[in-house]
């Protein structure tokens, strides 16, 4: 690739001739070799996390917890502002005789959460801290447990996606699998994936396509094409965010810290692919439908007034599994994998099919390709 490029271009390391990362040679398209082991450890880890987070704090009262937290980069500020802003409230909670331990703990968690830093800049310990708090807070509020993880990107992994237009029949199983997997708001019927139904022989006429059909599929004389966030390699949405609440991870996933987002919706205006969704009101998911295997950057519960979008199911993909849409697709139209792994299916598709991407002229370099049989 030329040294002085005028615009950004995706580097798959094809010229680097690096050996496949030795850890796993099974190719990730069929679920992964280490997924089971990971799942087990998630539970164990969860136990450990609960112990770590509240084990020795159970004996202390809320006031002590608040003023006894370990000093870190942000603590100085936290204490200052927090005590100024909601100090009064918390002190009254801690001093109150009637308030139970739970109430105090809840107050402390809320406090810490309100003034924590940007996830992007946290070290592993801080990340662990915040997911522990979030899990505990969920338990305190609902009496139920969730498992939340904070796996970081693995080395030598760059996730990519390919969509086979010839195979897709418009069943939309991917859409419902996505909604269930990612705990999307049921009230507003938020969906990350859109399936565009287009007429044969007219080419890609997105403006004439129907992405909200309710008839039997596949409809005669139509073909289907799915869109979602394309995890651009040069994402305009990331550039514009005033607070770096959204960014590109090492493995190519474009993610959002829901707790850091201020809800300005600038990223939404900047995305050329309709990839982002906003929580216009408080998102609601029936308690029995909540997916409890969560990742901080992925499908954990959102709040109103923040942005969210497809994360290639970070909670699954970083455990070596396929995103929910890939597994749900009955036709095999969806292919997901590690672009840096020469043995992966996605690499085979890129090398052997005539692939293209949408709006390539914008220089966003999506990691989402389309192809036909």
């Amino acid at each position: 690739m030329s040294e002085n490029k005028k615009w950004h271009s995706l580097d798959l390391g094809l010229n680097k001739k690096k050996e496949a990362s030795g850890a796993c040679g099974c190719g990730k398209s069929q679920g992964s070799c280490n997924s089971q082991e990971e799942e087990l450890s998630a539970d164990e880890f969860y136990e450990a996390a609960i112990n770590a987070s509240i084990g020795d704090e159970r004996q202390r009262d809320g006031f002590e917890q608040v003023f006894d937290v370990k000093m870190d980069r942000r603590t100085a500020f936290k204490k200052l502002t927090a005590s100024l802003l909601i100090g009064a409230g918390a002190v009254s909670t801690s001093c109150s005789v009637v308030a139970g331990d739970d109430t105090k703990e809840k107050a402390q968690i809320d406090w810490e959460e309100q003034f924590k830093g940007n996830y992007k800049l946290m070290n592993d310990e801080e990340k662990q801290g915040t997911i522990n708090r979030l899990m505990r807070s969920y338990e305190l509020r609902t009496g139920k447990n969730i498992s939340m993880t904070a796996e970081n990107a693995e080395e030598d992994v760059l996730f990519g996606y390919a969509f086979n237009i010839s195979k897709c029949q418009g069943y939309m199983d991917c859409v419902s699998a996505c909604v269930e997997e990612n705990n999307q708001d049921r009230n507003s019927q938020m969906q990350y994936i859109r399936i565009h139904e287009m007429k044969d022989g007219e080419g890609f006429k997105f403006d004439k396509a129907d992405d909200n059909y309710y008839h039997e599929v596949p409809a005669e004389g139509h073909f289907y094409l799915g869109t979602q966030c394309f995890h651009c390699d040069n994402p305009p949405c990331v550039e514009v965010c005033p607070v770096q609440a959204t960014w590109k991870e090492e493995d190519g996933l474009v993610v959002i810290d829901y707790d850091w987002c201020i809800g300005c919706r600038y990223c939404m205006a900047a995305c050329p692919y309709d990839g982002r969704r906003f929580n216009w009101s408080k998102p609601e998911v029936p308690a029995n439908e909540i997916n409890k295997n969560q990742h901080y950057l992925g499908n954990r519960m959102r709040k109103k007034g923040v942005m969210e979008k497809c994360t290639f199911c970070v909670q699954r993909s970083r455990k070596g599994k396929n995103p929910a849409c890939v597994d749900a697709c009955p036709t095999g139209a969806r292919i997901f994998g590690n672009l840096l792994d020469p043995n992966s299916t996605i690499r085979w598709v890129l090398e052997n099919k005539k692939v293209f991407r949408l709006k390539e002229d914008l220089g966003t370099e999506p990691k989402f390709w389309y192809f036909m049989d």
Binding site: T227, V240, Q244, C261, C264, W280
Partner: protein, 411 residues
């Protein structure tokens, strides 16, 4: 220390002036307060239920708030058109008008910030944007640039008139070498706030309607028409309700500025229309939607077809010196020009940027009652702030407000 005493007495005196006035004044302020309260009530509903109470959606994700924000940045920037001749070209004529203009800029900026906050999904975590405490994505995000330039501009526009009034309050002359550098800076700054705000939209490759090189310059031209037009109207009101003397000459000079800016604006409009409609491409769809509607969806037609004729009419009338010099006609022209540009630079600019969506989907936008309530509330807030500023300034300039202290004789 003595400065603090003066300041304290200034605050007390100005509180005194702004709470006293004619019946009409009290009705005006009372009315504004009422509208502000209604706006606040609407805002609380919005805080409680989320932005779903507005007409915005995933397709049209910015609406009335951001439209007004954009327009008001222009109004704020327009104060510069009066500052320049007064301070730098030494055109004494404008001196009175400048204080009013800068007061207007302050009020407009406060409204801008209020509109931005009203538009946020999470106002409680706005501290994430404070440099040093939060994470400020500078220089990548144009929004951070905008936050910086707007706040600095606000600071400049508060400090210059404050310094002048503070000196006058003590019966002293304001020293030129103190405020002129600030005034010159504010001239450049006004252009900056406008260009940066335009770049906010212009830099998005996802929205072809905004992603054109003319957006910034057109912003400037329309702002320098709408802003001074508003100043003329305000001066007219002040002239008839207070003893503050504003000469016809001043108003006519400002009218000239409005005229030239409106003419340039019109030329750019023609250029824009030519590009969109002579050889239409996919990227012209938004313009088609704005001017003619698309696939039977035409919510913006009544708006834009009000704005364009008003704009053209006002510009033509202003162009003829005879008409322009007739104050009654001038006020009328200024009013319709102001309305026209409010529509064009607000609604007509922001909403079509989102329509059709990235995949050609057309979802229309209409503001809801709550949104309109909040918007009116913020406008009332602006008017309220401006009235207070103007009343104090006028009091000081007329010599009604003076610092009385026996110990310190004027030095």
């Amino acid at each position: 220390m003595s400065q603090f005493k003066v300041l304290k007495s200034l605050v007390i005196d100005s509180l005194d002036t702004i709470t006293k006035g004619s019946i009409k004044y009290h009705i005006w302020m009372g009315g504004l307060t009422l509208v502000m309260l209604i706006g606040m009530y609407c805002y609380f509903i919005q805080l409680d239920e989320g932005l779903s109470v507005t007409g915005m959606s995933d397709s049209v994700s910015w609406g009335l708030y951001i439209s007004n924000f954009t327009f008001l940045v222009g109004v704020a920037a327009a104060a510069v058109m009066l500052v320049m001749p007064t301070y730098i070209l030494k055109d004494i004529d404008f001196k009175q008008a400048v204080l009013i203009g800068e007061g207007l800029a302050v009020a407009a900026l406060i409204m801008c910030l209020a509109f931005v906050v009203a538009d946020m999904g999470g106002p409680s975590v706005l501290w994430h944007m404070i440099p040093g405490i939060g994470v400020f994505n500078f220089p990548n995000s144009m929004l951070t640039w905008d936050v910086i330039v707007l706040n600095v501009y606000l600071f400049i526009n508060i400090s210059i008139p404050f310094y002048i009034l503070f000196r006058h309050y003590q019966g002293k002359e304001a020293m030129k070498k103190v405020y002129v550098p600030g005034a010159i800076l504010s001239v450049f700054w006004a252009v900056a706030i406008h260009l940066v705000t335009a770049f906010l939209y212009q830099g998005l490759q996802a929205r072809p309607f905004w992603n054109n090189a003319l957006l910034g310059p057109r912003f400037l031209a329309s702002a320098f028409a709408a802003g001074p037009a508003l100043i003329i109207l305000v001066l007219a009101v002040i002239r008839s309700f207070t003893a503050f003397r504003i000469e016809d000459r001043t108003i006519k000079k400002i009218a000239l500025i409005v005229t030239v800016a409106a003419q340039i604006n019109l030329i750019m409009l023609v250029s824009e229309l030519f590009k969109e409609f002579y050889a239409p491409t996919h990227h012209s769809e938004s313009a088609y939607y704005l001017f003619f509607g698309l696939h039977g969806k035409n919510a913006l037609l009544p708006w834009i077809w009000t704005a364009i004729p008003l704009n053209v009419l006002a510009t033509i009338m202003l162009t003829f010196g005879k008409l322009r010099n007739n104050l009654k006609v001038l006020y009328f022209c200024c009013f319709i020009l102001f309305v026209a540009i409010w529509i064009e630079k607000g609604f007509g600019l922001i909403v079509p940027g989102f329509i059709p969506g990235p995949y050609g989907k057309i979802v229309e936008y209409l503001p809801t009652g709550i949104e309109i309530g909040v918007t009116l509330g913020i406008w009332a807030l602006g008017a309220f702030v401006f009235t207070i500023l103007a009343k104090t300034a006028i009091g000081i300039e007329l010599g009604e407000l003076r610092y009385k202290d026996k110990n310190s004789s004027a030095s």
